[in-house]
Structure formats: structure tokens, C-alpha cells
Symmetry: C2
Subunit: 676 residues, 2 copies
């Protein structure tokens, strides 16, 4: 098919749109990071790497950045959007720094601020922001990672001494994979089942010192190093065991649940489960940060692979002695350009998520009632943060892998950074919530309006809830509602005459798929309520359907964010180029799920074939813009830091390709006479 | 759908079938490797790892194994099948050892034997086999990796001194990524454009010393270390530059092309290109070895992930306090079991390939004429080795990645081996021939009978050849021909009534897809011959079609090998179980290409949906056999060496899950009263 040609666009124009609302934060971060880039880490031992990362963490603290995310009344900047954007930018450096900063200021500091009260804030937040007090977020246990509600550590109140006794009852209850635990952390936010007066009140968080002033383990605390990992070796992950460790009553972070001196429990939130999931709200920022950092790492990888693809040549073009630039090959374009298009889409979706969180972060909001529309938006945010985290991190894993392969042996050399990008981001798909579990959470959110069971993770909550009640599917549009409403009304998915690049048709196609998948899923899951049904079996047999529903939903959210971004693009040429990028994102997404669209009569065989043809044609059309599209990410060369992406190898290649000054004999197969 | 149940099968029965013809080699390797497993490497510096791998290489040499692959008249064992099987087994240890052994005995030693003549054999082979002489295979250049025919290093004959002058004319002609070059190699087989009397004769190989007795670089040779890589850091890859390095006339490995003292060139093979690709035949063993080692690494990863999946529990089952074993979740089964089924399929295809190579390795065969049917089989072997290498290494990359994710954070810990397995095997998809280039080679082989241009890699040869001549598609069946002929005759792909587990239908479906894809591809490519066509554009626009054709072909070859293996299985229960494994392999392969089958009218929407249902049902049915299916790989525990797969963590999990001795309060959501 013919793709409308688009005029060249300066990278800076695209950068302006990509940088968005927190452009100043991005520009500052670029300047700061390029001035002192993380030294290379691949030849460091684990201990050397940890020391280097700690030094970078201290420099980051000194820059004042970490304060941005804390409330003004606690001495912070009151700018959560800026804070999250700064974290996203950290993803262009050593990802160990990003993760360690996330542990210190996002999880540890965030939990003290969100779950603690005045006395905790006054006592600790300044030292946390300055990095003088380093800490841990000790939630995950060896036996309970995804199912944190059922973790086993206990915190039993002893009214005789007005203390909590924190205890690890057995091996699988050890705290596992805790960042900052193996080396640097002094204080931990420990999640434990709170028991008082012989009664359990579910999971709560307490501040427990894990090291003394000399760096040795605190009494009753055992610390073990998790040791070498695939990546992120600058982060000191460790294991923690507590043997009847006593902490004062005030150690309880008591915003959502407090114990009086006599042991009386009180909470502003009814129900252990609901209270627990309110507390878990602190995890949203972590998930958004991971999605953002995954995006940054993906952009670095794409920049490296695409620049190499534009410099590297291999095999002669027929009838010529020129060698073909490898990004001219369709197969090479297909490895990289659809992934690049989706990186744009995910960027805009991430941007929207950060802005939503920022708007909802007014502290007055946190304790509002269930029926507040802002509360509904909060639940939407939670679901979208979970879904986008899953989709963005899988996209990172796949794309960075493809970039490595697209650079061949050069992509396997540590100096070209792709190995470290791959290894560091690999855990993103399973930490801060396993992606598969997160998508189930998204699906559950789609199937229902709010109610208590909504927030239970895993199959139990899902199956039990579905068995009880089902509220119909509602498609809730995101950004640029009126524009999208206008675009989608005119078409049906099955319309074969509609242009394949018609945005309204794209939107309708995604929306229709989401509705259909959800509707059929709901019907299947209703069977869990039948008298003879085993709810687990009903849920489990439909698990692939559940995951598909969540993906279809996130696909739509992401597309709508892309459409909204193009709509607000002030430059006509840039918008035209982004329209083609969006086309490639949409049609390659459709192509990846083509069997669904074919099998459900949404596309005829002829139109499905045309989709594949259009993806090929779009790759060809965007090939000429590929360099600008990665330059627009505006990653400083000091951070790209890969010889194959910085001209050194390209110059060699060009010299070689033109054969300037090289009198080389030709083989007979070139069809030319042998010379000298 | 209902899947026929199969009785339990002892793992040993399956092991017997898997071990096949070289069972004794596999048993010996297990014993030898388990007695002295590679020490863990993830905390080693590059230099420590290299030293350890060199020590292992010497131990391997001392075991006498490397002799197996060399001809008896050279002091070898004359058992290439055993040699390749031994390499496959090395894939269960440190993969750096496998690769370094492959460089030393497969590539370096193999080239000396295959390309050299009597004097080279007598002078070097014993020292090569014993490991006293370590060497390099210096083919790849920085500017030419896949397109080795156009490499730029020159070897110019100087009749005045009866020497060759080996020279690196410019930067992109440096030898790149050469194993054994950075540290241990003394002698290199250097591939260079041979020039004598001012005339070029294409690429030839010469023996060039690269280090002196003291380990310093030989005069005129510059050596650089490639440095840290994503994995395989026990292999010392380096770069080589030659500055007018003189070697005696006898340094030329002159079996296929010789230069007389006066500079006269003669060769038993007409045509530089044909001669070059005859020489490249030595690469076949390398590709087969890589596919085999990829298979072994994949089996290790699957063993680790499936054992963990059977021990790990997460989330309670509704109406029960039992936590669900994670391999009971459909989503978890889908991550691992289809990959396991395909690992079986690829194992049997690999086995067949090794046996074919073994049979064709009679030295009398090597110089036979073009029309010998054994020569045709040789070309088939070359094509299948290329295709299976591509498919097996991509399967390894995907599967090991899935295994890592399936083990969550535990899979990210170095002690559980998945990170190293992933990192070490990652380069397999792009070395010993980039997979994308190899699949093009396969497609070219399919489109034609033998002729000179067949062997040119890349787009030029493809486009030019297609423009010249096209010979019709022939489906050539592999193993168990009569059985397969009998099975396929009765069905058509479109037959909706045929049972989804009907093997004849599976075979027909794959065969029919291959035929159709090839037929339509041939029609498209014929356009390259049109007067107004740009052959490169015609080829390039069809590149995704080309790759699909190759994959469809390899899918059929692999399936036929699996069918043949089940056919020779003497145990009825084992055969029944393998039938289900084969069903899962087939139907998950169909599912992965469902859009093609739907779009080409091979499956109706209803039947496509049934395929997905059948994959789910097969996962469920095979869940109970998963442990046996990985135990059957018979990887010694000393080599599995991952705590999560060896019961340590599982014991902890079981203790936790039964809550024996743990008086833990229950949360309200469990539906039980709180207890002390």
C-alpha cells in the first residue's frame, strides 16, 4: 500500500512533545547526568559496584532531587510528577542507581510518609531525604512474593512493656530480596501480621532497626546477602530474619491502624483486607517508576541498535558494489521499527499516568470516602499503573533482546551496553508485582465496580468475587475523550472499505476487541457461581482469557494516550510523522493478535493480509525517519556510551564500504574482472 | 476437549529413547561431568574465569574426548557422531568450556583437518587434539561477519621468497571476536583473499602464528582483547591485525587450492565461490554443535523452572487453606509446557541431524562429484543444520527467558543458574551464522536444486539467482518416510472432522503450509526477473515471506523427526506419553502461526478456537507428567546445581505450606476465626 510521505522533522520538535509537562526536570536531569555519568560497571566486582552506586546515591541526595516527591509540610517539594519524571530519567544511567534510589526514597521513604504519622515524619523524613538514614522496605517473604497479604512475619503487642515483638516464625517467612539490606540499610519498614490481645488485624508496617551504629546486625536480627544477580549488582539485596525482636509501640506506622498502650486496636478503615490494600497504595509509585525506567532503558537500546543499523552494511546490492545498510533490510526494520513505534506509544501513556498520579496526590484526598469520584480515579490509576507496568516491562525485555540480536556480536560486547541493559531490566517483569499477577488485577478491575474483594490479588479473590457478583463492562475512555468519540462513531471494525490508516477505525477495533473479550470472559467466569462448579477450575481454565482481557484493555489505554499526544502536537509536520508512527504501533499490535481479529470475524483474510503489507510499507516509510525518532529521545552521548552508536565504528564502516584507497581484488562472482 | 490419559512412565524409559544411538557417550559424559562439575563462575573476574576454563579444557583434552571427532588415520576416533554428542553434553556444564572446546577442536582443529593436507595433519593434529597447541579460527572481520565471502584480509604470494604476505588493509578488515585470540591461542587459521601473480582466487585459509613462545604477539601481529561480554566470559575473544606478516608457502591449507613455488594457482574445484563454500562445509559441525548445546542449556533451564514450579505455592485455593502449586496455574503451564514439548521435538531433530552427518562423514565422500546422491544429501544436511541451528537457538533464548520469569526473583539470583544460562546462550542466535541469514540460506535451498549460486549467502545471490532460474518446489520427506506417507494420505488440512490430535492431519497441515508458502514465494520472487524490476527491492519486500518459508520447512523437518522417534519407541506407555507431548508441540506451533492458518482457509474460526482449547487441555493433561519429562533429560544434580531445583527451597516451602507447628493468626478474609 502507499503510505503518505511526511516531510523531515527536526528531532528537537519531537523532543518538545515527548518532554511534556515536566520538561524542565528532564532537561535538568540530562545536564546533571551527562556531567557525571555513571562509570562503566561491567568489570566491577559486586562490592566495587555497590560502593560506586552508594556514592552515586549520595550525590543524588546532595542534588536535592529526592525531596521533590515528599510533601511540602515534611520539607519536600510537593511535586510527585516531577519526582517520578526524575526517576524515569535515572533509567538512562546505571539502573542500579535508579533501583537503589527507588528503594530509599520511593519505597522506604514513601512508606514512612504514607503509612506513618507526625512523630515518624518529624523523626525520620529529613534524614531519609538527605540520605543520612538509609533504609529498607521489608515486605516480600521467601514464601510470599505476589501474595503479600498472606505473609507470615508477626508483630505481637506486649502490653507489659508497651512493645511489639517482631518475629520470623519459620524459614519461608524470612524477608527476601530486600534492597539496601545486605550492606547499607539501618532501619527497615517491616510488614508483619499485627497481633494484639490474641487477635490478628492483618498486615501492618513497623520501623525496625536492622543495624547498629557500627554496621553490625541489630540484636535478634540476622542478615544474609542474596549475592550475585543477573543484573542490578549495585543494589545490595539481602535476607532478614527476626528472632523476637522488640521495638517500642511507637515503631508502628499507625496512620491506618494504631495500638493503644493497653493493646486496644483501632483503625479508620474497616476490614483487614481493605486496610491492607489501602496501605499497598504506596506501591503505585514504585510500579510507575519501574515502567518509566523500563521505557528509558528501552529508548537507550533502540538508540544504540538503530544508529548501528544505519551505519552497519552487509552484503552487496545486486548490480552494484555498494553494500546494503542493514536497516534497509525489511527483516531488520521489522526487528526494530514496530518496537520503536510502541516505545513512543508507551511514553505517552506513561506521561498521562504520571500526570494523573500528580493530580490525585493532593494529601487531602488520601482519606476520602469510597464514593468520591476522585477515589474512583484512584482505583483506575492503580489498575492502569499495574497494567502499564506489565506491558512496558515486557516491551522492554522483548525490545532490548531484539536490539541485542540486531547488533549481532557487537551487541554482545559489554562496551556496547546492551548486555547490561538487558540484564538490569530483566527482573522488572517480575518485581514490584509479577506481570502475570498484575494483569489479573487489571482484569478484575475491569469486571467490576469497586468493592472490598476487588483488591485481593490472585485466583482466590478473583474466583470468589466473580462467583458472587458481576457488574457489566463499561468502556471508560481516557484522554482526549471528545476527539476520540468523534473519531470512532463513523466506523465499524468489520468495515473493509475503511482506510487501514484510519485512526477512528483503529480506536474502534481496539475498543471492540476489549468489549468482546471482557463480555465473553464475564460469561465464562459466571459459571464459577454454579452449584457444581469448582471456582478455582473455572477461573484457572479461563486464565489465558483473563490475561488477554487485561492486555486488550491496556492496548486501548495506550493508543488513546498516543492519539491525545498527537492531538496536542503544535507542529503540523511532527504530527504527520507521529501519525505514521502511531499507524505502525497500531497495525503491528493488530498483527501480533491477528488470529483473534481473524477468528472473531473482525478482519477478513484479505484485510489481514493487507495489515501485514501495511506494516511492511510503514517500516519502509519510517526507515528514513528512524534516526530522528531516536534522536528525539535526546539521550546525551555521555549516557549512550556505546562505541557502535557513537560514530567510531560507523566511520570505520564507511571507510570500508566506499573502499577508498583500498585496492582489493574482486572475486569472480562479482561479475567483474580481477584487478591489480 | 478430552485428552486421552496416559499411564505414568518411568523417567529412565524416556531417557533411553532420548539418549539414542550415542547413549554410551551421554552416559560417560554424565559420569565424567558430575564427578568434576564446573565450579560456579558468577563471582569470578574475567581473568579468573578464563583461567578456570582453560584448566577445564586441559582436563577435557586429557580425557581423550576431543580425539573422537578426528579421522582414525590422523590418530582420531573416527566417530563424528560421538564427537557432536559429547559437545551437546558439554552444554550441561559451563558453556564457556563448550565454546572454547568448539573453537579449539571443532573450528581450529576441524579446519586444519578438512582444509589442510598431509603435511599439516602430520605436523599439527596430534598437538591440537592433546591441547598442546591451542589455536584460533580467524574468519570473521569487523566489517564482514555474515558476508564472509567478501572479507578483506589479503594473503599475497611472493615468489621471490616463496612466502605469503598476510595483511589487514584497513580497520574494518581486522579479525573480530576470535576465540582463543586474546589469551591462549598460538596459531590461527586465517581466512584471507588469496592473491598470486596479481590475480585473486577468493578466500583461502592459512596457518599464521600469532604468539611467540613467551606468549607475546608474533612480529607484525597486533592483538586486542574484546573484553567483557554478556556471557561466555571464560572464552578469550580477541581482535587481530596483520601488518605484512610473512608465512611460508606451506602455511596455505591447500586441499582445495594450492600455489606452486612459481606462484601458479591450481584447485580441484572450479570457481572461487564454489570453492569457498566447499571450504565453509567445515562450519556445519559448528552449527550442529551450537544447536545441540542450546538444547542442553534449554533442558537445564526447563528442569530448574519446572521443579521450582512444582514446589512453589502462591495464593490459596478457594474454600481451602492450601496454597496452589504454581504449575497448577494454566498461565504457568503455558509458559513452560509447550516449550518443554518443543524441546523434545528439537532433541529428536538434532539426533537425526547428528546421525546424518555421521553417515556422510566417510572421508571418501568429500571430493565426490556434484551429481552423487550423497552430495545432494550433503547439501540437505547443510541446509538443515543451518535451519535447525536458527530454530533451536531462538527456542533456547525464548525458553530460558520464560524460565527466568517463571521463577520470579529466585530466577534472577545467580545461584539459581538461569541468569548465566540466558547470558551464555544469548549470542547463539547470532554467531556461527546469524539466524536471519541462515534462514535465508534454508529458503534458497528449498527453492532450487543445486547449482553454483545456491551457496551465496545474502540478498545478492538470492535475488540474482531467482531472476535467472526457478526450479519447482519438492517436498522431500525425512525420517520414517513410509510411516509418514501412510499417515498423511488420508486427510486434508481443511478437514474439520479430523480429530485435533490426528498425527496425519498434523503432518499434512505442516506439509501443506510449507508447499503453499514456498509456491507463493517463488511466484513473488520471479518478478525479480522482469525488465523493470529492481531485484533487491523484489527480494527485500518479500523478506518476511522468505523467512516464513524457511521456518515452515524446519517445522516440518522437526515434526517428522519427532514422529519417527515415537515410532521407534519400544515401550507402549512411553510412546503414548510422547504422543501427547508431540500433540502439544504441534498444536502450540500451529497456535503460534494461527493467523496464517486462519487467513489461508486451513482452519475455520471454530477449529482455531478448538486448537487453543486443545493446547490448554494438553497442558493440563501433561502437568502430571512434567516432573518425569524433565527427569528424563537425566541431568545430574551436580550439574543442575540450583538450590531452587534441588529440594532445599522446596522443603522450606512445604514446611510453610502445611503450617506444621506454626500457630499463626488468620486474617478475616480467610473466612475463619482468628486463633492465637
Amino acid at each position: 500500500m502507499d503510505i503518505p510521505t511526511t516531510p523531515p522533522v527536526p528531532a528537537a520538535t519531537l523532543t518538545g512533545l515527548l518532554d511534556g509537562r515536566w520538561a524542565h526536570v528532564r532537561r535538568d536531569a540530562r545536564t546533571r547526568m551527562a556531567a557525571a555519568p555513571s562509570p562503566r560497571t561491567y568489570d566491577l566486582s559486586t562490592e566495587q559496584h555497590r560502593a560506586q552506586v552508594l556514592a552515586e546515591l549520595r550525590a543524588l541526595a546532595a542534588s536535592g532531587y529526592p525531596r521533590t516527591g515528599f510533601a511540602k509540610r515534611h520539607g519536600g517539594g510537593g511535586d510527585p510528577g516531577g519526582f517520578l519524571t526524575a526517576f524515569e530519567m535515572l533509567g538512562f544511567g546505571d539502573l542500579s542507581v535508579m533501583v537503589k534510589a527507588g528503594v530509599q526514597w520511593g519505597l522506604f521513604g514513601g512508606a514512612v510518609e504514607a503509612l506513618g504519622t507526625e512523630r515518624h515524619h518529624e523523626r525520620h523524613l529529613r534524614a531519609i531525604m538527605s540520605g543520612d538514614l538509609l533504609g529498607c522496605f521489608a515486605m516480600t517473604e521467601a514464601g510470599h512474593g505476589s501474595d503479600v497479604q498472606h505473609l507470615r512475619t508477626t508483630a505481637t503487642y506486649d502490653p507489659a512493656t508497651a512493645e511489639f515483638v517482631v518475629h520470623t516464625p519459620h524459614e519461608a517467612a524470612r524477608k527476601e530480596y530486600i534492597g539496601n539490606a545486605a550492606r547499607d540499610g539501618r532501619l527497615a519498614v517491616v510488614f508483619a501480621q499485627l497481633v494484639t490481645g490474641g487477635e490478628s488485624h492483618g498486615v501492618h508496617a513497623l520501623l525496625v532497626p536492622i543495624r547498629d551504629e557500627h554496621g553490625g546486625p541489630a540484636p535478634g536480627v540476622r542478615i544474609e546477602d542474596c549475592g550475585r544477580k543477573a543484573g542490578l549488582n549495585g543494589v545490595d539485596n539481602g535476607r532478614l530474619w527476626f528472632d523476637q525482636v522488640r521495638v517500642p509501640r511507637e515503631a508502628l506506622l499507625d496512620r491506618y491502624g494504631a495500638v493503644a498502650v493497653d493493646g486496644t486496636y483501632r483503625s479508620p478503615i474497616e476490614g483487614d483486607s481493605r486496610r491492607f490494600f489501602t496501605m499497598l497504595g504506596t506501591l503505585i509509585r514504585g510500579r510507575i517508576s519501574v515502567a518509566g525506567a523500563a521505557g528509558s532503558a528501552t529508548k537507550s537500546a533502540l538508540t544504540i541498535a538503530i544508529r548501528y543499523g544505519l551505519a552497519r552494511r552487509q552484503f552487496e546490492r545486486p548490480g552494484s558494489s555498494d553494500e546494503v545498510v542493514i536497516l534497509d533490510y525489511l527483516a531488520h526494520q521489522r526487528k526494530l521499527l514496530p518496537a520503536l513505534a510502541s516505545a513512543y506509544a508507551l511514553h505517552f501513556a506513561q506521561d498521562e499516568l504520571v500526570a494523573t498520579l500528580h493530580e490525585l496526590s493532593d494529601p487531602a484526598h488520601a482519606d476520602s470516602g469510597d464514593d468520591d469520584p476522585r477515589d474512583r480515579r484512584g482505583r483506575e490509576l492503580e489498575s492502569r499503573a499495574a497494567g502499564l507496568k506489565a506491558v512496558a516491562t515486557w516491551h522492554a525485555t522483548r525490545t532490548i533482546q531484539a536490539c541485542r540480536e540486531a547488533c549481532g556480536g557487537a551487541g554482545y560486547l559489554a562496551e556496547n551496553r546492551l548486555p547490561q541493559l538487558k540484564a538490569d531490566t530483566d527482573v522488572f517483569t517480575t518485581f514490584e508485582g509479577d506481570n502475570t499477577v498484575l494483569l489479573q488485577l487489571v482484569a478484575k478491575g475491569l469486571l467490576t465496580g469497586y468493592q472490598q474483594h476487588l483488591h485481593e490479588l490472585g485466583s482466590v479473590g478473583m474466583a470468589r468475587f466473580i462467583a458472587e457478583k458481576f457488574v457489566g463492562v463499561v468502556i471508560e475512555r481516557t484522554a482526549a475523550r471528545s476527539l476520540i468519540d468523534r473519531l470512532v462513531t463513523a466506523v465499524t471494525p468489520q468495515d473493509e472499505e475503511t482506510d487501514l490508516l484510519d485512526r477512528g477505525w483503529h480506536l474502534k477495533l481496539f475498543e471492540d476487541r476489549e468489549e468482546h473479550v471482557l463480555d465473553t470472559l464475564a460469561r465464562r467466569l459466571r459459571r464459577a457461581g454454579d452449584a457444581d462448579a469448582d471456582p478455582f477450575e473455572v477461573f484457572n481454565d479461563a486464565q489465558d482469557h483473563v490475561l488477554r482481557a487485561a492486555r486488550a484493555h491496556i492496548d486501548r489505554i495506550v493508543l488513546e494516550a498516543f492519539v491525545a499526544a498527537i492531538d496536542r502536537c503544535p507542529d503540523q509536520d511532527a504530527a504527520a510523522l507521529l501519525d505514521r508512527v502511531c499507524d505502525l504501533h497500531v497495525l503491528s499490535t493488530v498483527e501480533a493478535d491477528l488470529d483473534w481479529f481473524l477468528g472473531h470475524g473482525r478482519l477478513t483474510a484479505a484485510r489481514a493480509k493487507a495489515v501485514t503489507g501495511a506494516v511492511n510499507a510503514l517500516c519502509k516509510a519510517l526507515r528514513g525517519h528512524a534516526e530522528v525518532l531516536v534522536d528525539a529521545f535526546a539521550i546525551p552521548d555521555a549516557l549512550i556510551d556505546a562505541p557502535i552508536a557513537l560514530g567510531a565504528e560507523s566511520d570505520r564502516q564507511r571507510a570500508q564500504s566506499s573502499r577508498h584507497g583500498v585496492a582489493l581484488p574482486r572475486t569472480e562472482d562479482s561479475g567483474k574482472a580481477a584487478a591489480p
